[in-house]
Amino acid sequence: MAMNFGFKLCPSSALNLDKIDTSLYDKLVEMEPDARICMACGSCSATCTASQFSGMSVRKVLLDIQRGKEKEAAAMLRNCMLCGKCTMVCPRGINTRHLILSLCRIYDNKEEQK
């Protein structure tokens, strides 16, 4: 039986930019250069129909990918219904729906390669 000290050690949640893997982000930027111009305004998440039930947020997906959090981004993407409302409101004119599809394509390719 594991010893109970009355406390647990949690893995650090700190982001270390020296160690993160940005290959997914780099690939995305190649396909969707506009991924770079998100200014984190949150309009996309605010208007997203899936957001209130599932926490879907294009803003967070983009941030997670920049911070190397592929799994978190993938989990979130599953909630998208591709309705395109986010594209309508993005003030930077990012075709977010198209971006989501490109991202799914990158994930799919990765799966196939495995």
Binding site: L15, N16, L17, D18, P33, I37, M39, L63, D64
Partner: protein, 344 residues
């Protein structure tokens, strides 16, 4: 005779030979006055003489300053000179200069500009402690001279820019936003990316304040064409590791997580703060300072270039943070106000 009349016209004392003083002198010359520029340093042009390329169009600062200096050839210029005292007799001021000259003038224009926040005061950023930390001013100098031990002779893989150094910082005594440093950071980040195309560049900001003409486009370009990373969070501490690189810590407030990154160069966006020297001189002239420490205008909406004293006017960054075009416009406005005042 017209010519004679021109020569007979009054002399106007301008304190400070930065771009505000130079532009006002040029306009006063055109209006037929004899401007006398009193400059405490050994050169004209003020801070802009130390910059390299100016936002928003990347205009060459040296050429602009050189042209402005050429345009005031007809003015009297005293370098390395300051005002030591002044008295008011009726509607004229008697001004005594440190070089022994005494001037009678109906109007004084104050164009003493700003001071850059002394980055040593923010010890946690390591300026003057680590040899990888420089200021926005140091970087402009490097763009002009290509010499700086902090950049030369080593590999530059990662560069960070810290916004709001000494600005928006009540503890540092400056609650105001310095206004020009967000766009300066982005401008310099782009210039560094051009110099070091393989480097990753991070801007650590609290808010991005890109108020001016075409500034937001700079931001979009920096993201889109140069891949500059913007991280929302104030750098909290900087330390050196055994390899002589910098470890920088901040909160990535957009993900709500603490963040660290190792850098080869850190550029501090030191803010524009009130010029202590200017304030001393102002109190000698019985002028007031505003709550932000800059000189107090008659009011901050319609009469920025006027002081609370008859015959004393302001132009440029002595009353607050200003850009070059704002400074030049104020200098022109001040010249006209002086002309109207004298002809009242």
């Amino acid at each position: 005779m017209l010519l004679e009349l021109k020569i007979m016209k009054d002399s106007i004392v301008i304190i400070g030979g930065g771009i505000a003083g130079l532009e006002a002198a040029k306009q006063l010359l055109t209006l037929g006055y004899t401007p006398i520029i009193v400059e405490k340093s050994d050169h004209l042009g003020g801070h802009v003489a130390g910059w390299n390329r100016l936002f928003p169009d990347m205009a060459p600062a040296q050429e602009i300053v050189a042209k402005m200096i050429k345009d005031v050839e007809g003015a009297n210029i005293f370098l390395e000179t300051e005002i030591i005292s002044s008295n008011k007799l009726g509607n004229t001021y008697i001004v005594n200069l440190s070089n022994g000259v005494t001037i009678r003038t109906k109007a004084i224009l104050i164009a003493t500009g700003f001071e850059l926040f002394d980055a040593h005061k923010k010890e946690e950023y390591g300026y003057g402690i680590y040899n990888q930390v420089m200021t926005n001013q140091d970087l402009e100098k490097w763009f002009n001279t290509s010499v700086d031990s902090r950049i030369g002779g080593k590999e530059i893989r990662k560069i960070g820019f810290v916004h709001c150094v000494g600005s928006r910082d009540v503890k540092a005594g400056n609650s105001q936003c310095s206004k020009v440093c967000c766009v300066t950071a982005i401008k310099q980040a782009i210039e560094m990316k051009q110099e070091f195309p393989d480097a990753e560049i991070y801007c650590f900001y609290m808010d991005l304040r890109l108020f001016g003409k075409k500034y937001e486009d700079f931001y979009i370009n920096a993201q889109k064409d140069y891949g500059i990373h913007f991280i929302r969070g104030r750098v909290s501490e900087v330390s050196e590791n055994i390899e002589g690189r910098l470890l920088v810590k901040a909160e990535d407030t957009l993900s709500g997580k603490p963040l660290k990154v190792t850098l080869d160069l850190l550029v501090l966006m030191a803010g524009m703060v009130c010029n202590q020297d200017g304030s001393k001189m102002a109190s000698m002239l019985r002028l007031e300072t505003d709550s932000d420490g800059f000189l107090r205008s008659k009011d901050n909406v319609c009469n920025i270039v006027e002081s609370n004293r008859h015959g004393i006017f302001y132009a440029g960054a002595c009353t607050g943070t200003k850009t070059v075009p704002e400074t030049i416009s104020e200098a022109r406005a001040a010249a006209l106000m002086i002309h109207n005042y004298i002809n009242e």
